[in-house]
């Protein structure tokens, strides 16, 4: 069994590594970068590349910058059509190399740690690479989402007492008396096009004033993506442009758009399909955005991540993690069937259900204070549970306790709205912010800040309208806390 699994892994690795010999890599790639689908190698190399590239490509809390990309930045207008944005409904993808400037026939490149010249040929490699990755990412996203509209229409039809054909007939008709179509009224996505995933502007650059750790950023509704060189290398490692694909789901106004983005977990949604692809071995297992997927894998399919983590990390020597590599490979392989099951589940069931009635699901999310109600409920409606020692045992225990479960659910659901006090902003927290907030501030700083705002809700209310002031306030609040601590 073990022998067979290892052989398969080897073959996948060999296949995925093959293209690396075929073409030249951009100059900013660290020497010796590989592309692999071997889970252990992918994880090892990922950490190495992060360590190698972090200083020159990522700011940090104590090392923030401001840059002014402008008219001197190298811009290349491509022939790839972009229909992703509100800003310009049909545009051509423009690749913008923010801090690449032409000087005396050479191209000067500025990073967060140095400045150097590159040749026209090296520049061409960078541009060609980005162009190609964008096309691949758009194609992969399109393949996954191409049937979403049809499936959403079918889901809606059942709920409004119409056939799918009837719903389709109505979609682009205006509601009598209104200048609004039924498609808009139902919030049904338009039929998907590959160009809907293509950004209007793809910047190879940084998010210099952030606290670091941001591989890419999408500015909603505008068609603008910032793609960090580290992200490109990470995508190369896994053999698919997964970070870019993720951003290109955010950028598609047919899928994610203000104001609807405030009502559901846009980060988890944009992580599907990429974290479920067989090429990406580590996203599902490690990334913060996929925590719900791990919960599903455990509760419904019996995959125990805590146990696997405990098994595979043998010892931690001050940041040097000694792994049981064979165990890791075999445990990760077991995850593949779950990923492939979820890939289809989200494509055919969960996402169409959400997009068939997003306002209702956003309301449910609000009531449950959970941005992922649709995914949880659809999982429960499609899979039996196995977490308590297998399917039979689990379902038997649940059947026995069903009356109590119903009673608890009813009580917990009806207690909605009772808050613990303090000022409550009526918004869901995007996963990105949750991760950032927890990463940037220490638990003690968070506690002090939350305590302060609970006691001074009006202060918070006044500040939220002026984000710059809010950030300044938090910076000075935390600085004072630290100063106080030092004294």
């Amino acid at each position: 069994m073990l022998r067979k699994a290892s052989l398969t892994l080897f073959l996948i690795t060999l296949f995925a590594s093959f293209p690396t010999f075929a073409k030249e890599l951009p100059f900013y790639f660290p020497p010796g970068v590989v592309s692999t689908t071997d889970p252990m190698r992918q994880l090892q190399e990922y950490y190495r590349y992060m360590a190698a590239m972090d200083l020159c490509n990522q700011p940090s809390r104590d090392r923030r910058y401001q840059l002014i990309p402008g008219s001197d930045s190298v811009r290349v207008v491509t022939d790839i059509v972009s229909t992703s944005s509100i800003t310009e409904s049909s545009a051509k993808l423009t690749i913008i190399l923010d801090n690449y400037v032409r000087i005396d026939g050479k191209i000067r490149v500025t990073s967060l740690c140095d400045q150097r010249f590159i040749s026209e040929r090296e520049l061409q490699v960078v541009v060609d690479d980005l162009r190609e990755q964008t096309k691949i990412a758009a194609r992969r996203n399109f393949e996954y989402y191409r049937e979403l509209t049809n499936l959403s229409v079918s889901a809606l039809a059942g709920n409004v007492g119409l056939t799918s054909d009837e719903v389709r007939k109505y979609l682009d008709e205006k509601i009598p008396g209104y200048d609004v179509t039924y498609r808009e009224f139902w919030y049904i996505p338009k039929p998907m096009r590959e160009s809907d995933f293509v950004p209007r502007e793809l910047h190879l650059g940084f998010t210099p004033s952030s606290d670091g750790g941001i591989l890419a950023a999408t500015w909603l509704n505008t068609g603008v993506i910032y793609y960090n060189p580290v992200a490109r290398v990470s995508d190369y490692l896994q053999g698919i442009p997964k970070v870019l694909q993720h951003e290109m789901i955010h950028v598609n106004v047919n899928l994610q758009k203000f104001p609807l983005n405030n009502g559901f977990d846009v980060e988890l949604s944009a992580s599907i399909p990429v974290m479920l692809y067989p090429e990406d071995k580590i996203g599902f297992f490690f990334h913060g955005y996929s925590s719900l997927l791990r919960e599903f894998a455990h509760t419904f399919f019996g995959y125990n991540f805590e146990q696997v983590r405990d098994e595979v990390v043998r010892v931690d020597l001050e940041g040097n993690l000694i792994f049981d590599e064979e165990k890791f490979r075999s445990r990760l392989q077991e995850l593949e069937s779950i990923k492939s099951e979820l890939l289809v589940f989200f494509q055919n069931k969960a996402l169409p259900e959400f997009y068939s009635n997003p306002v209702w699901w956003m309301s449910m999310n609000q009531v449950r204070n959970d941005p992922n109600s649709v995914f949880r409920i659809m999982m429960a409606n499609n899979y039996d549970l196995t977490i308590l020692g297998g399917h039979e045992k689990t379902m038997l225990w649940l059947k026995i306790h069903e009356p109590e479960i119903l009673e608890i659910a009813d009580e917990a659901f009806k207690e909605e709205g009772e808050q613990e006090g303090g000022y409550v902003l009526d918004v869901n927290i995007p996963a990105f912010l949750r991760v950032q907030y927890e990463k940037v501030l220490t638990p003690q700083e968070r506690e002090e800040l939350e305590k302060y705002f609970r006691e001074n809700p009006e202060k918070l209310k006044g500040l939220v309208s002026f984000p710059k002031k809010l950030v300044e306030f938090i910076d000075s609040f935390v600085a004072n806390q630290r100063k106080g601590g030092a004294q």
Partner: protein, 493 residues
């Protein structure tokens, strides 16, 4: 993989984190743990509840129970969407406004607002339909009105204005027994109705603009006639129609029914105007006591506010493009604050303030210290003011006009004392010369021995501004003017 969406949007969202509100999941966990279940059992129970509590089964398939969510929850969500959009379409948050305009997002956001408003109108109407049925006594005991996708989303069977009508009134109208018995109209046009934030200075609490108000409403009372001489003069149905640009809207904005004999009114209000999404569907259903006539409607502030709500859109005023000029003024140099007259007639006080006899004034003086080298106790007179009065000598004239006259040479020198209002007479003035001799007299209309015939400056108030008009040396007209504070007086020379 960390992803930043619009940072400014996210920053707003971030601080929900600080509120500490609990989720359904957390509450479930706490209750389940209290039963002594293990962590895995709790996880299983939560997931299972998503099926057995939140969904229903048919032919072995589970589907979400859409009806379990109260319709008011959907309405609240739509209110949130509308408020999110409206919040960023305003110009108070400069950073957001710049983002929206730089990326040309405004018209699409306005479209999103319009769409949300259409959905909201439908959802709210479905919610109010239940309320209306209850108040009209048309629903059965315990009848629940949850979210019904067919009612709200289906093009075939959706809630409409017809759901808010009274069969009794409709029947009377059809049979011709419903007749008009009273009518009133109400029209207000006020230019300065209320203060709103100044978009150029959104953070300054004292900066404001005036918002205007325009309302035009026709209210008609109808009675069902079953006999020629009814025993009461109270209407059985009252209807209000907004008038926009001189035309009555096609559907009533106010419907008032009296379903019970105790005359408790059921009031249905549509706050959306004919050009707004939601027109024709109610925004409010309520019960009111003491509504006897069309005049009672006008006395009810709540009804009027609901009929003419202030829209967020009305408050979206883009800030004016700002410009500035560079000025370097070294201390000691003066700036020209004067505005030259536009014609040879010069500036004039633009209204009448003198009476027929031109004697409605009090004298006003402000003696100044004598010049250098003179006795420090001495004073001299720079000007004599005629402060014009209105209905009596204690009330200022319209525009609180004050004319300033220069004294003749003999009264412009150093004096031991100068006093006006002598003996309480507002036109009497006295001078005590350095040698102790005293002269007093009156400054009456016409030529005076004390002051020149014509004023050299006049101060007056027009609207919110106080103006100062003055003659330049050698000029016979007031050739320049400046804006001054209400307490401005001529400068001492």
């Amino acid at each position: 993989m960390k992803t930043m969406i619009v940072r400014i949007f996210l920053l707003v969202s971030c601080f929900a984190l600080l509120s500490g509100c609990s989720s359904y999941q957390t509450r479930f966990e706490e209750k389940a743990k209290a039963k002594g279940w293990t962590e895995d059992e709790v996880k299983a129970a939560i997931a299972y509840a998503d099926r057995v509590y939140f969904s229903s089964e048919k032919d072995g398939k589970f589907t979400p129970r859409y009806g379990m969510l109260g319709i008011e929850k959907i309405r609240e969500q739509l209110e949130k969407i509308r408020s999110d959009v409206s919040g960023i379409l305003g110009y108070e948050n400069r950073e957001l406004a710049k983002y929206i305009d730089y990326y040309h997002l405004r018209s699409d956001l306005e479209r999103q607002e319009q769409i949300a408003q259409v959905v909201y109108a439908r959802v709210l109407a479905a919610e109010l339909k239940g309320q209306f049925k209850k108040l009209m006594g048309l629903s059965s005991e315990g009848e629940k009105f949850g979210y019904n996708p067919i009612e709200i989303l289906s093009p075939k069977a959706s809630v409409s204005a017809n759901d808010f009508k009274s069969a009794q009134i409709d029947a009377a109208r059809e049979s011709g027994t419903l007749k008009q018995v009273e009518f009133t109209s109400y029209r207000v046009e006020r230019k300065f109705d209320r203060k709103i934030k100044d978009p150029d200075n959104p953070e300054d609490p004292n900066a404001f603009l005036w918002a205007s108000k325009f309302v035009d409403l026709q209210i008609t009372g109808y009675k069902i006639f079953t006999e020629d001489r009814p025993s009461s003069n109270e209407s059985d149905y009252i209807e209000g129609v907004r008038v926009v640009d001189g035309k009555a809207e096609s559907q009533p904005a106010l419907r008032m029914y009296f379903p019970t004999s105790d005359r408790v009114a059921v009031v249905v209000i549509d706050g959306d105007q004919g050009n707004e999404p939601g027109f024709g569907l109610p925004d409010s259903v309520m019960q009111l006591h003491g509504m006897k006539s069309v005049e009672d409607v006008l006395r009810n502030k709540d009804i009027l506010e609901k009929l003419f709500p202030i829209r967020d859109k009305q408050l979206r005023i883009p800030p004016k493009p700002k410009d500035f000029r560079v000025e370097i003024v070294r201390v000691g140099e003066t700036l020209n604050v004067w505005e030259e007259a536009k014609d040879s007639g010069g500036w004039k006080v633009p209204f009448q303030y003198r009476n027929g006899q031109e004697d409605n004034y009090n004298l006003s003086i402000a003696p100044e210290p004598a010049g250098k080298g003179e006795d420090a106790r001495f004073v001299r007179l720079g000007y004599v003011g005629k402060a014009w009065t209105g209905r009596d000598r204690y009330t200022p004239s319209a525009g609180a006009v004050v004319e300033y006259y220069r004294p003749h040479k003999e009264f412009a020198g150093s004096m031991q004392a100068i006093e006006a209002f002598l003996g309480g007479d507002p036109k009497k003035i006295s001078f005590v010369f350095p040698d102790g001799t005293e002269t007093n007299g009156y400054i009456l209309p016409g030529t005076s021995k004390f002051v020149e015939d014509e004023p050299f400056a006049i101060a007056y108030t027009e609207g919110d501004r106080r103006w100062w008009i003055e003659k330049s040396e050698g000029s016979t007209v007031f050739d320049k003017r400046k804006q001054v504070s209400p307490s401005e007086r001529p400068k001492h020379h």
